[in-house]
Symmetry: C2
Amino acid sequence: MSQLLRVQNFTVSSDGIGAGEEQTLERPFGHVDPGGLFTWAGATASWPNRTDPGGSRGLDDYFTRDFAHNIGAEIMGRNKFGPQRGPWRDHEWRGWWGDEPPFHTPVFVMTHHERPSFTLSDTTFHFVGGDPATVLDQAREAAQGKDVRLGGGVTTIREFLDADLVDTMHVAVAPVRFGSGLRLWDSPDDLHDRFHHEAVPSPSGVTHHLFWRK
Amino acid sequence: MSQLLRVQNFTVSSDGIGAGEEQTLERPFGHVDPGGLFTWAGATASWPNRTDPGGSRGLDDYFTRDFAHNIGAEIMGRNKFGPQRGPWRDHEWRGWWGDEPPFHTPVFVMTHHERPSFTLSDTTFHFVGGDPATVLDQAREAAQGKDVRLGGGVTTIREFLDADLVDTMHVAVAPVRFGSGLRLWDSPDDLHDRFHHEAVPSPSGVTHHLFWRK
């Protein structure tokens, strides 16, 4: 298989929750505080938003620096782009990702509502309808031979898992517990029927779960 | 620090031995059988010499695919190039690495004996004298802003550690025992005075030791 669909560095709580409910413009993660989810990545030397030198170059750093490795496009759900629901009311607001989005590739935002593509720095956002297989075809073509990253959130990952389109998946489980929210799984063992699975505890407190197709 | 000197995927036995003695043209690893050292890497999907599809995409694969990531040059000891000692008797034999060496960058072979540079595929071998700091300066310039990999063997790595020039080091400890040979360390704990250290056991049976400067 030459072009993989890869989930990379997706982080959930110990109870499997990737984001809260009641997402708003001010709270992309809804009712949960996402800080505890990403502490492990923010502490690494390769974290793209790092402002001071230093940072860990241990195990967690391998994952942060692999994020963009051989990735030619990203697919994300609409909620990872913004909190709007239904038809776009305006095109002024251009997503949560600022003027320098961390993707550096074409990004395919899944939505039933049309919107023109636009470019911020070296990231171009396309808004696409259709089922996961159709969107993946578009992303693969844009990736020009490289892999495609499936960026999330939870609902989008589950949709691609249900369609059996995910080739590899890295999920970091952080040592926080949310109780309620959008749940990726009851347990990583849910995927054992279709995937090899390694669970690798990191000294930082997260456990890295690695899956690849059987 | 913009250009790191990195040891990557260097593998030793559980008793710290990277190669045997009595190196010959037929036996690059001398009296030890290197097979057991590299089983972990050969089983991964990203192993460059893989001939069949498949292979693990678990933890070990992160290390094999990081091997060339942001590397712009390699430094190696003369014994990693060939078994000759003293002045070169001829320039016909061009190293153990075949017509398609796995480096894909300039390689600086440390030797007291001059020899003209030559290119095989996209790897150019230079033969350089001088102390580790001088060789590192040459390799950094050739790397054009990227990192430099310190390729080994044991003697070369120890020389650069003694000169305090190594920034990060990944050593895989394989579940084999050699008893005698060229020894990297008595214990990874030897480096605790100068390096952070994480030991990460892999399901394959190797333990990945990660070091970065304090």
